[in-house]
Symmetry: C2
Subunit: 492 residues, 2 copies
């Protein structure tokens, strides 16, 4: 074989060292493969015009470094290690399972747009940081560490720090054994998907629904069926029609202050849903993340509290009532389910940060959770109303229902405007939000956007509504131009 | 149909209420199914010797409660809800995926034994709580909350709190983009299993190896191949022989202060392993949980630091160097792998508790991690030596190597004694430890036990060794008796 190495130069050190370095550079660039034969010392010496012993000494140098080795009958060959240097290692992408492969959806493009610096963002799904009870948390964390010392930094039961678990159970009126504390409700969805969904299993969700739930069920390989969900909550007739032909593993539903629609299912509809669950033996996952953020009228009973048949797995989180950095949520389910999920959790993250759980327990026990909710509810209600008025004023062509709770307005655009196009135009105005398609498993949501009303004060809300109006006008004008162009038969 | 209801009794309230209650009790017991027909009011009135209007009013009562309904041509039938009351809901167990089903192994029995109250336990795999730097953590948590306020309670990037990520990268001499901060290294194993292992894929592990890794790969449906791992670390010849016939997704290895054996792979063997990885395109997961707990001689370079081919995914945790309640670990991998794992993590728990990450960063940055390690290393080394001497003194029939680091002695029993039987006898003496079979994917480890030497002070270690000696004697005597009984042909 010919190998292109530099001819040693006088004055640049010993010839054999120069030669070895030159050869190693070739190897480091991955130009040779394991088992490739190097020229014989005689051939290379002749080619480079150096003595044969120079080449032999260079080869010996490389051999000491593990780059090459002598093999009987084949001369000097490149070792596996020599060949691997400078390469990128295994074909990592080829080794990935489907669930870990990049999906090229609109989602990625939306996230890139929302990362634009300086954006006024209505995209978030979390409460407003200005009200986070950081000081109380600081004080209680210190107290817990002072009082409990190293013990609280030790391992913790898989199903949760016992006092927190009991507190949650008591508040919900169930047994502690029916509760499992989670590392956020995202973990709950993952755990449920791992426990119940095999590839190809059917899962029913609302359309639209929480994007994180879609991700969780998709990653487990579920066939996802969407049931329309509007101002009255999920469409029970459509659900019944689907249940007649599909036997799902789970129905995932957000009955109270729905994300993204804001709608709540009435009590009679909750009962009708439970009747259907009983009739079809249907396991229901109730995501109740937003229940405590209610601004008008009395609180709604959870599906779980109405269910006497043991069909409901209840999932909630402290991320919406308090703050997301906690990563603490919980699930309530029939005891056998809790036992199975706890033991599956052994594989997922063992247990939830024990100091955080202990601090949260003290915080709740002292009534600070309720006090915090009492503080933020009227503020968020006011912001909701501000956003509704600002939109009515600046963008009257938009339509939406004003929800009784939660964090979102789900806004319908005209048929001609897609949320994605409107987001593109809005980002140019310095405004961000989420587009409706993210909340659908299949098609749907093209003409909707989701605005979070809780994050910003009134002035920013008005400002955002004005930006949205400008973007709407731009998109509308483009549409007129496009239709005129189309009408005149121009090729665009 | 006949329905066994109690005949209303005078003096026990209105007849129709008594009758409705009696019927509801039947329904609550789940004795009737949805759609079952109740007797006509005429039939039931005749059967019970009451007036027909009593039965009609009882049925009306049940109808208001949603238990029954009138259907044209079928009279009074049980509703879905009526049928569901009192039932246990869906067949939850039948709905579970295989990974969530209970496995009835020796493991469960061992855990039950170890839960015996008052046990002196050498079973743990965590450092000693008496040295946890709880006070420093308390102070730094307060500082972080005071300085950063609500911001630190907000969401955090999926790949980690940026300063902590950078600190880890700098210490390891890699780019921050090659690091992902995890909710404990258990999450790392789960993430890797989710990302790389499809059911039926081959994964190679050491035999014995960390039980949590076995759980993670098993839950993903891996075919697990064990390679013997002894005092010199994993058997490279056996690995090569296996690689000739199996193409694994991953090799999982604990090269430094192995759990449970305590062994470390020498530098030449590390290089030989990397050569083999390069030759076979083998992805290697290096679990380095115990590296910082080294008591003799210079630290060993990690596989990752020796690997120039990009074959190694490195996994570690703060649980062993500090304390397990943190739930913070990290992974270092080629950038494309880190990107895929971060995005898969979106499905698993979003991100790791942000306040904990910030506190940990400050703790490390101030040199307190290194100071803590300097404090505990000599203490653990002393305890290791104490346990070795105590065992040699009280139970000279046991054999073990004294490891240069980590937390464990891996103790070989005589062929006649199983770890499981010895644990049963030891628990009666008030001593607990782990049995060797837990660390094997298939058979193996029957004659081994794992003792953690770091948890208890010298006096408790001696006490434990004496208890173990008593248990050994008991088991040995039983063995003699059993053999004598067998020899005499008695039926036991």
């Amino acid at each position: 074989m010919g190998i292109a190495v530099d001819r040693p130069q006088p004055g640049s050190g010993p010839y054999h060292v120069q030669l070895a370095t030159s050869l190693r550079t070739r190897l480091e660039r991955g130009e040779l493969r394991s088992g490739d034969q190097l020229p014989t010392s005689r051939e290379l010496a002749k080619e480079l015009g150096v003595s044969r012993s120079t080449v032999v000494r260079a080869y010996e140098e490389l051999e000491r470094g593990g780059w090459v080795e002598g093999r009987v009958g084949r001369g000097t060959v490149v070792t596996a290690r020599g060949a691997a240097e400078g390469r990128a290692g295994p074909d990592w992408d080829g080794l990935l399972t489907d669930r870990a492969r990049p999906s090229s959806t609109e989602h990625g493009e939306v996230l890139r747009m929302l990362a634009t610096p300086g954006l006024l963002s209505f995209a978030g799904g979390v409460p407003s940081p200005e009200f986070y009870p950081a000081e109380a948390f600081q004080q209680i964390t210190s107290e817990v560490l002072r009082q409990q010392g190293p013990r609280i930094l030790q391992s913790c039961p898989l199903d949760g720090y016992p006092p927190l678990r009991s507190w949650i159970a008591e508040r919900a009126g169930c047994a502690a054994e029916e509760v499992i504390v989670l590392t956020g409700s995202t973990q709950g969805l993952h755990l449920l998907a791992q426990a119940f969904v095999r590839p190809g299993d059917a899962v029913i969700v609302e359309a639209p629904t929480y994007a994180g739930a879609l991700r969780a069920f998709r990653a487990a390989g579920a066939r996802i069926h969407g049931i329309p969900s509007g101002p009255l909550g999920l469409d029970l007739d459509a659900l019944r029609a689907l249940l007649r032909r599909v036997q799902p593993k789970l129905l995932y539903v957000i009955p109270t202050h729905h994300n993204p629609t804001g709608a709540s299912l009435s009590i009679p509809r909750r009962e009708a849903l439970l009747d259907m669950a009983a009739e079809y033996g249907l396991p229901v996952v109730e995501d109740d993340a937003y229940a405590t953020l209610r601004y008008d009228g009395p609180a709604l009973p959870s599906l779980r509290s109405l269910d006497r048949g043991g069909h409901v797995i209840y999932l909630s989180t402290f991320s919406k009532a308090l703050f997301p950095g906690l990563r603490v949520g919980w699930m309530m389910a029939p005891q056998p389910v809790v036992r199975r999920l706890s033991s599956l959790r052994n594989v997922i993250d063992l247990f939830t940060n024990s100091l955080t759980q202990a601090t949260l327990y003290e915080f709740c026990k002292r009534g600070l959770l309720d006090a915090h909710l009492q503080q933020v509810r009227p503020i968020y209600a006011e912001r909701r109303d501000s956003m509704a008025s600002a939109l009515r004023r600046y963008a009257p062509e938009l339509s939406f229902d004003v929800p009784h709770g939660g964090l979102f307005l789900w806004v319908r655009l005209s048929e001609k405007v897609t949320g994605f196009r409107l987001l593109q135009a809005s980002v140019q105005q310095g405004l961000g939000f989420l587009v409706g398609t993210l909340f659908h498993a299949g098609s749907g949501g093209e003409n909707h956007i989701r605005l979070c009303f809780a994050t910003h004060p009134q002035r920013a809300i008005s400002d955002g509504a004005r930006k949205l109006a400008v973007a709407l006008r731009q998109v509308g004008e483009e549409d007129v131009v496009r239709r005129e162009v189309d009408a005149e038969g121009f090729v665009v």
